[in-house]
Symmetry: C2
Amino acid sequence: MALKRVLIVGAGLIGGSMGLALSRRMPHLDVDAMEVNAAYREQAAQLGAFRRVWHALDSAPSDYDLAVLAVPVDAAVHLLPRVRGKATWVMDVCSVKRPIVEAMDRVLAGSRGVPSHPMAGKAQPGPIGAEESLFEGRPWIFLDTHRPPAEIEELVRSLGARVVWVPDADHHDRLMADASHGIHLASQCAVLAAEMDHSAIAEVAGPAFWDVTRLASSPSEFWVQTLSANRDHVIAWLRRFESAARAFRAALEQNDAAEVRILLEEAKRRRARADAARNTN
Amino acid sequence: MALKRVLIVGAGLIGGSMGLALSRRMPHLDVDAMEVNAAYREQAAQLGAFRRVWHALDSAPSDYDLAVLAVPVDAAVHLLPRVRGKATWVMDVCSVKRPIVEAMDRVLAGSRGVPSHPMAGKAQPGPIGAEESLFEGRPWIFLDTHRPPAEIEELVRSLGARVVWVPDADHHDRLMADASHGIHLASQCAVLAAEMDHSAIAEVAGPAFWDVTRLASSPSEFWVQTLSANRDHVIAWLRRFESAARAFRAALEQNDAAEVRILLEEAKRRRARADAARNTN
């Protein structure tokens, strides 16, 4: 198979950025989009990235080599039966993998479905925030259980992404609770825990405050869907998170400096493991 | 009073950076340091910022216009009675203000003590990490109850810092629980909550993970002292933090997407208040 015709289903931030990058870096591709939101459709057309921007799946032809589901998890699962007739291969870019894999295996009989997940985003949603470089240097996760054909892996690399393999959908979703979904909730909780007004806090805040709380500015709809789709692993993460906070509180309540030090050193040791792995990438 | 002779007590990251910046930006000042740690003393001498680096307070002369206590809170309280005879004015740069103010009011009868707090730091401790620009654009907090003479405010502005006033020591310490001490614990808890090994998490982590967890790399000793010195307000912050985490967990356990959305929107609204106040600074 050689990829020639690609349909991006959902011209939001991720779909728009994929369109921009593909049209500039793989100019031999014909890249179309389908977007149901009229404002997004207009913004997507203005990117100059898409040959056509369809307003509905039914209008689009059925001879694509690849369709990319760049919509929230629930929408991706819902659209899958209708996308199956439009393209040889169907890849998704959703943030949770179990519902997608379950639907792909059922609807596409497994063999034509490519679950994937680029670790990229920004606070500004929609195609208006699209950037050709959005995926540059970012992990793009595939599952060992659903290996893509070489052409699709190549396409992802052409976006500048770093291909990462994880064993399966459940492993992915557990990793995401630790690496992303829980991290987002930690940021929200750090904002919600404040006693003083945030305009007063801003006056005295250093970089630590701005870095740790910045995820509270993220688009709520995306996160409601993502957290709900991975709720079992996120709930388990929150239990461990509450337990860590209680351990710090108990040590401070007992004025036990040695125990506070042990907790800080354990966190430092774990973060250093992450740093070491990052530096060898 | 015109400032001519300054003694920095403690040539660590903050003291070393103050020395560098003052020697380059206020060359009419004589800036000395006192540092008990031999390795730090050698690194401080190599900065080329200090006229003399004393190894003990007793060796230093007693005719300084200003002594700056750039040591942890406990050490600052401990050194205050011995520093009072060395300089007309004594300023501290500690991260918690109630113990300092209590000691200054007792030992210096209030009038010569200037409690202050620059919101600056980095993961690398010691004078080896010192930077002339460390305070550039950063808040430097003074208390309305202990206003410094114009010369000291001028000195702080010459470091590039943005002078911020708060009503009193307790107000400062409450603000710090929200803006700094709690934020640090949120970062530690986000690391400690992980189920998977951090070398595997690093493979798939995006910028959110690195930003939110970076404070886990901070020097433990400084944080043990800071959290202990502000323990009542930090404990209260942790209770609110745990409560926020439980609220997210309850909403997810009940699969209540509307409630998850309410919590995310509330965090976003508060973070936007901080952003708005930041942008008007």
